[in-house]
Amino acid sequence: MIFREVEDRDLVVRARKGSVDAYNTLVSRWEVRVYNYLLRITGSVDDAMDLSQDAFLKAYQNLQKLDDAGRFGPWLYRIAHNEAISHFRRRRPETGLDEVFLKADLSPRMSPVEVTLAVESALDRLPPDQKEAVVLKVYEGFKFDEIAEILECPASTIKSRVYTGLETLRTILAPVAKGEMQ
């Protein structure tokens, strides 16, 4: 992680000086993670793709505003988060929490696909702020301080969201967890 941070810093410095190749390397390095993050909080492949594209473009246009070149990752996620928020605000009239997967059968013996569906549906039952905090913690591996930086709120708030979300998920996924044990 530290090695990657050093490399990111170098690439950001070069990109700031006009190296398009350096920025393209940053895109290659982060695109899958940012796409998955956006996919998990939007639940739409098309939206996640469009928002990822917008996030990388906005990051490129604002690269000079990044205070610490070594903090490219959290900064990029903050841009992606803001893009997602803008997206939700634009589409608020027609979207809410997706209930499609809430009826998933949580039987003890589940196939990998069924586990995936169960987890997706469980995540979708969380309030958006808890869901995003859990996604950034569990899937993206950020520390509480980093998530606080990305979502621009206190670390204590992030910790509370993650813990509450994790308790809810433990209850919902209990049958899945039992199946995993068997």
């Binding site: 398009v20 796409y35 996919l39 996640a48 793709m49 997706e120 899937y139 910790k159």
Partner: protein, 197 residues
């Protein structure tokens, strides 16, 4: 019910490190309640991590792709012409700096005039003597020739002719001196204008 003073969520989420992490590990070995709590959380996190990482359906458009157009100034600044422009600017500055530093300070016109007059006064007498000697040599030869002739012809007529010739020679010499003085002044002025002494 787990024990107080232990944060098993933070422990399972990898937030604890160092001494705090070791304290949790040690406690876990001998506390069944905390073991159950930690195990339940671990299973939940494991189940969550079963969600596979998904590849994007297409790659993110790179900055170099046509869809992401960079401004003309950014393109210009990041290209070869930037180097050319910078080189030309540096060369211009170097030339100007050299010209400013190598240029002799402007001479005061009064000082310069005095210097010219001093040089003229120093060199003119010698030049005049030399010119007189050159110009008078043929005249003296002619005079001697005519004096010899007077011994054989009319003395008065010879004297008149001699006076006329002498006046003409003197006018010619004077004109030559004036011309020489003007040329020397011109030469000093030219030399001073191009940075010489």
């Amino acid at each position: 019910m787990s024990c107080e003073g232990f944060d098993w969520k933070a422990y399972e989420l990898g937030e604890l490190a160092g001494a705090d992490g070791k304290r949790h590990e040690e406690h876990l070995k001998g506390c069944e309640a905390c073991q159950a709590e930690a195990a339940g959380l671990k299973l939940t996190v494991t189940a969550l991590k079963r969600l596979p990482k998904v590849e994007p359906p297409r790659r993110i458009a790179f900055v170099s792709d046509p869809v992401v157009e960079v401004g003309w100034w950014t393109r210009l600044w990041a290209s070869g012409p930037r180097l050319g422009f910078a080189s030309a600017a540096m060369l211009t500055v170097a030339i100007l700096a050299h010209g400013m530093m190598a240029r002799t300070p402007a001479t005061d016109p009064g000082q310069f005039q005095a210097k010219v007059e001093q040089e003229v006064a120093k060199k003119l007498p010698a030049a005049v003597d030399e010119a007189v000697a050159v110009r008078y040599a043929p005249a003296m030869a002619e005079l001697n020739r005519r004096l010899n002739g007077l011994e054989q012809g009319g003395l008065v007529k010879a004297k008149v002719e001699l006076d006329q010739q002498r006046k003409a020679d003197m006018q010619e010499i004077r004109a030559a001196f004036e011309l020489m003085e003007r040329r020397m002044n011109t030469r000093y002025l030219s030399a001073a204008r191009f940075g010489g002494d």
